[in-house]
């Protein structure tokens, strides 16, 4: 990142933390958590423990991080190296990101940035300017993706509350600051689970490694009545709804399943797991019991938007509500082949244009790497 751009973003982020420190949600039992941060243009600093809110404020003001993280785990000694921290337990965390949904709208709001010459262009396999194939994909705002992720989040919440019997009150949902949502489950019996156990939970939630027998197709002579009913609890009920649609269609569908054979049924189950009923969480996040996870209320350097809690996810409009940087005009040179929307305002497309935009839009484009200060 260019020196000027970097300075601008640092100042902008610093201003945000100065004005909006109250947006930061300091998690429960903060003393037992590990904090970490990244600075623009440099690596991760971890193994920090913070005694008070003041320490956190000081860290933000003096280091001006591009990103701030806090562990889902609780430790006796959060500031020691990993092996000596003495892990106690860890909140169950989930990350659902638009890129994992892979919706068809995605190609319409993704552009590429050439890593060799810096050219930003519409989606191509090679850079139209220098033909390099080292490209970065940049996805810009998309309401369709956000509503897709929201749906996924709500389905996840259903499984957590119904199947896993997690109390609503212990689930906290926040917008990730880019194009996803994070879920925290605190105070649950699942806090004690290690990675391996969480791995099994992940397969459950993603509906992976399913056996056809469990969903009705018994070994030799399959019998119709072992197939799931629509009103059953858990996955059997969801599978029935997905495959049969309604009670009246169930019988016919089962006839077909039996005649197609067990292997075909297994493939169908795998397919619906992957593409419809399985929840598209990022397994690497949930399995990690030593993760430092973006701190709620901090800014995301991929966008300049804040990671923000949402009490009512259905109504939450991240591109307006999490866009918390000021709106004084800033002169930039922008190169964005596609448009995007922030604070209900449309920006772009821009082709190497000098423009004046509100600060939040300038920060967004600088973070995305599709503009420079002039």
């Amino acid at each position: 990142m260019l020196e000027n751009d970097l300075k601008f973003l640092e100042e902008t982020f610093k201003q945000y933390y100065f004005d909006h420190f109250d947006f930061i949600h300091i998690p429960d039992r903060s003393l037992e958590r590990e904090y970490g941060y990244k600075k623009f243009n440099s690596g991760m600093v971890r193994h920090i423990s913070l005694k008070t809110d003041k320490d956190l404020r000081l860290m933000l003001m003096t280091n001006v991080p591009s990103d701030v993280f806090c562990s889902n785990a609780y430790y006796s000694f959060p500031n020691l190296p990993m092996a000596e921290k003495d892990w106690k337990e860890a909140d169950l965390i989930f990350d659902i990101d638009a890129k994992d949904l892979n919706l068809s709208c995605r190609k319409d709001h993704t552009c590429v940035k050439c890593l060799s010459c810096g050219e930003v262009s519409l989606l191509h396999d090679t850079c139209p300017k220098c033909k390099s194939n080292k490209l970065d994909l940049l996805s810009l705002t998309c309401d369709n993706c956000i509503s897709g992720v929201k749906k996924e989040v709500l389905n996840l919440v259903k499984i957590l509350t119904a199947d896993l019997r997690i109390d609503d009150k212990n689930i906290r949902i926040s917008f990730s600051g880019n194009e996803g949502f994070h879920l925290y489950v605190t105070n649950s019996p699942y806090n004690q689970l290690g990675s391996k156990e969480r791995g099994d939970l992940i397969d459950y939630i993603m509906f992976r490694r399913v056996m056809p027998e469990r969903f009705g197709f018994k070994k030799e002579n399959p019998s119709r009545h072992t197939f799931p009913e629509l009103d059953e609890a858990g996955w059997r009920g969801r599978v029935a709804k997905e495959l049969f649609g309604s009670k009246s269609k169930r019988s016919k569908a089962i006839t077909k399943i039996i005649s197609d054979g067990k292997l075909a049924y297994q493939q169908i189950l795998e397919e619906i797991g992957k593409n419809s009923i399985g929840i598209k969480i990022d397994p690497n996040v949930t399995v990690d019991i030593h993760r430092i996870f973006r701190l709620e209320g901090s800014l995301n350097s991929k966008s300049g938007l804040a990671k923000l809690a949402c009490d009512n996810i259905e109504k939450f409009n991240p591109y307006a509500e999490a866009c918390l940087i000021g709106d004084e005009p800033v002169e930039i040179s922008a190169n964005s082949p596609i448009e995007f929307r922030l604070k209900n305002r449309r920006f772009g497309p821009y082709t190497n244009e000098k423009i004046s935009v509100p600060k939040y839009a300038a920060a967004y484009m600088l973070c995305k790497g599709i503009a420079n200060l002039v």
Binding site: A83, D163, L164, P189, Q192, L193, E197, L201, Y204, R208
Partner: protein, 340 residues
């Protein structure tokens, strides 16, 4: 911890306080070593170890005396004396095998007791074992047992078969539904671990003349099962786990064998050193094993030398048992070499 009746103690003798039990029955260890009338119990104890070593579950031939008051204590005595003999011989392989066989024996009783509608005490006792020893709250619900998902997961992850995966289980309202058989099966491994840890924790008595002969025979017996392995402390958890699976005579899936062999080869061990590790595998065949290791090492076949799979790969086969010591390495070969 748990108060035991005579019935229970015979079924689950590992729950007894050994010294206390002998005392209560009016015996001393010394008597077993010297009293010719008690020699039969020492013989039985030896048989019990021997059958365990061979992978059988101890099931004494129905003695003709049907007097419960005699048979039950006999069974307990033979268990307790078996432990004395094991301690005196000091052979870990025998202790492991014995523990596993005793666990499977107890598992059978547990399974029966969990559904003994006629005998509420047995049922309650079995449920108590789950709770007090393994911290699993198990409840009866119709024809099933239900246990909280988080408890279930902590035990079920020890199984590699798909049917134990949560997604293939009846899950409702935070609970997993299990049959009686599955409930008992769920804790077999831990039961074995529990028994062996009790044995290891017990004091080793001093050698008595009367036990010498049996202890000597145990050493002979142990030779059959000795696996010379070099288990250094710097092995990562996934490798330790694989070795443990093999040592317990359980089946290690192909990928696990591949991982283990490539890892040990990578650490400079030879085929001669590695092959015996697989000796306890249910499908052990020396020739095939050596051939396979040779292939992996690149000594035969395609001449491709395989290297140890990455942690990601191992994880995806459910064979990663990462601990904080693994922190951030990407291949087990790096274990212990990289510092933070």
């Amino acid at each position: 911890m748990i108060s035991l009746g005579q019935d229970e103690i015979a079924k689950y003798p590992f729950l007894a306080e050994a010294g206390q039990y002998l005392n209560d029955k009016g015996f001393t260890l010394e008597q077993f070593a010297t009293d010719p009338d008690l020699k039969i119990i020492v013989d039985k104890a030896y048989e019990r170890i021997e059958s365990a070593a061979e992978g059988k579950i101890y099931n004494p031939k129905a003695d003709n005396s049907s007097d419960k008051d005699i048979i039950l204590p006999l069974n307990v005595f033979s268990f307790l004396i078996a432990i004395v003999l094991l301690k005196l011989s000091g052979h870990n392989t025998l202790i492991n095998r014995f523990s596993l066989a005793e666990a499977r024996r107890a598992e059978k009783f547990l399974e029966r007791d969990l559904v003994s509608d006629s005998n509420k005490t047995s049922e309650e006792f079995a449920i108590k074992i789950f709770r007090d020893i393994f911290s699993i709250t198990i409840k009866k619900a119709g024809g099933y047992f239900v246990i909280p998902i988080s408890d279930y997961l902590q035990h079920a992850v020890n199984f590699h078969e798909l049917e134990w995966k949560l997604v293939n289980r009846h899950v409702e309202n935070g609970m997993v539904f299990l049959s009686t058989h599955e409930s008992a099966r769920l804790i077999r491994k831990e039961l074995g671990g529990y028994i062996s840890s009790r044995i290891r924790a017990a004091n080793t008595p001093s050698m008595s003349k009367g036990f010498e002969d049996k202890v000597h025979k145990l050493s002979e017996l142990a030779k059959k099962f000795v696996v010379k392995t070099i288990v250094s402390t710097e092995y990562p958890p996934c490798i330790k786990h694989a070795i443990e699976v093999l040592n317990n005579g359980e089946n290690l899936p192909h990928f696990g064998r591949f991982m283990l062999a490539t890892f040990l080869l990578g650490r400079g061990q030879t085929i001669d050193e590695i092959a015996p590790l697989f000796k306890n595998a249910p499908d052990w065949n020396e020739k095939v094993t050596r051939y396979q290791i040779k292939q992996i090492s690149g000594e035969t076949g395609s001449n491709t030398k395989y290297s140890c799979p990455s942690c990601d790969k191992i994880e995806s086969h459910d064979m990663c048992f990462a601990t904080p010591d693994c922190d951030n390495i990407i291949n087990p070969m790096q274990f212990g070499k990289k510092r933070l």
